[in-house]
């Protein structure tokens, strides 16, 4: 820890690889997702897919990248092999699945990469940098922080219900829906309100309502590779859009 004492806090790189700015990652995800659906030939699909694999590779998820290449190859092979049997409805079904899943694989891959390699603090820092309204940032940070707490509360309420003999299953929902729903919602809402109050008290006592500037310990900025990738993908998107409009089939 001592050798980093005088450096600034960077978002921790969870895996080895290039550290992309979170804004870059989001933009890449959206642009590549759109690109995926602008062309239909296998060649086009494969090239977009390979580009995504490249991103994962340099972005620190080598193993996942290789796994996805394997899955992709497997699906393509299955599709080719099953061609002669398409009159069989089962084979048809399998073919459908294989094609559909293969098409969304790159989007899925990129999304997983985004979530796995980005820290929450990096997302929050990105929101501050993009000058989102403060209340929006507060609400969004609280949402994710609350999930585990709310599920703990829910678990405790469920246990208490078991103990007191209150049922919460399909039968009770059908026979006495109003009562069942009320029994769950009242303690749940009260828990939620208590959590909200306590959270707010602790946050306000640490200066949340400062009308001046808030800073972020986590620093993020665009590096050369952020810009390089973004330019490349945006240019490709523009070209493909134009081609589509002009009527070329890809």
């Amino acid at each position: 820890m001592s050798n980093t004492k005088n450096t600034v806090y960077q978002p921790k790189n969870k895996t080895n690889g290039l550290l992309f700015d979170p804004r870059t990652k989001i933009l890449l995800l959206v642009e590549l997702d759109i690109l995926l659906f602008l062309g239909r030939s296998l060649a086009y699909e494969t090239s977009v897919f390979l580009f995504c694999v490249l991103i994962l590779f340099v972005g620190g998820q080598r193993k996942t990248a290789l796994k996805c290449v394997g899955i992709f190859l497997f699906f393509v092979l299955t599709e080719q092999l099953i061609q002669p049997y398409l009159t069989n409805s089962f084979a048809s079904f399998v073919h459908f699945i294989v094609v559909v899943v293969r098409k969304v694989l790159p989007a899925f891959m990129l999304a997983k990469w985004l979530v796995a390699t980005t820290e929450v603090s990096a997302f929050v820092a990105a929101m501050w940098k993009c000058r989102f309204p403060q209340n929006a940032i507060v609400t969004t940070s609280v949402i994710f922080r609350c999930f585990p707490t709310l599920s703990e509360e829910w678990g405790a309420i469920k246990t208490a219900m078991k103990m007191r003999g209150i049922e919460f299953n399909l039968r009770s929902m059908v026979t006495k829906p109003s009562e069942t729903v009320v029994r769950i919602l009242v303690p749940l809402f009260i828990s939620a309100l208590n959590i909200s109050d306590e959270l707010a008290a602790a946050a306000l006592c640490r200066g949340l309502d400062n009308p001046g500037t808030h800073t972020c310990m986590t620093l993020i900025h665009f590096r050369w590779y952020d810009i390089a990738f973004l330019l490349l993908v945006t240019a490709a998107l523009a070209v493909i859009c134009v081609l589509n409009i002009k009527g070329y089939s890809l």
Binding site: V104, L110, T140, L150, W154, L193
Partner: protein
């Protein structure tokens, strides 16, 4: 004073966060139960609209502003993208969020009537994940037909989701949302008032 407003809005922002988290939990639990089964799939928006109504009204009570509504509408579609779905959901959820916010603002975020109408339009943000079935269907079916799928299979799939199902779903979702709002006002609020919460 300026700071009073700011502090009260911070508190509201946190309350909004907690209730939106509750809304998302409701959304995902119902989604997880209904998505796998084809028939229930159609029921998903209706169920969410009904069960999310109390949370929506409570959120507006504690945090009466457009930011909460917008985030509540927009965030699920972002999460869909982040889990690998097609990024078309925001195209539906952003307008739905804006319209819902404008309607609620009409009643200054405090009128039950306007908030309920707002919730109706808000619930349509759920259709973001469903749109591909109709909008992209041609794309899917054409590729699969090109790939040589049996005409029979394509036809069966098409029958399950004819064009008129979409407006029907939209109307029934709006109805369920109203039912949810009514339930909140007539049943739930009574209990919550007695509990000293409202």
């Amino acid at each position: 004073m300026e700071n009073q407003r700011k502090k009260k809005s911070s508190r509201g922002a946190i309350a909004a966060g907690v209730f939106i988290a509750l809304y998302l939990v409701t959304y995902f639990i119902i989604g997880a139960i209904t998505m796998p089964v084809a028939v229930l799939f159609i029921l998903m928006p209706e169920l969410v609209a009904f069960f999310a109504a109390p949370t929506y009204h409570m959120m507006l009570t504690k945090s009466p502003n457009w930011i909460s509504i917008f985030i509540a509408a927009f965030l699920p579609s972002v999460l869909l993208i982040a889990s690998g779905h097609i990024p078309i959901a925001p195209v539906v959820s952003i307008p739905a969020g804006i319209v819902a916010a404008l309607i609620a603002k009409h009643g200054n975020y405090k009128s039950f009537k306007w908030n309920s109408i707002s919730h109706m339009f808000f619930s349509w943000n759920l259709f973001g994940g469903f749109i591909p079935i109709w909008v992209m269907r041609d794309y899917f079916f054409q590729t699969t037909l090109e790939g040589g799928m049996s005409q029979e299979f394509c036809d069966t799939l098409r029958i399950l989701t004819p064009w008129w199902v979409l407006p029907v779903m939209m109307i029934s979702t709006a109805l369920c949302s109203l039912l949810g709002s009514l339930f909140t006002k007539k049943v739930l609020d009574k209990h919550l008032t007695k509990a000293g919460v409202l």
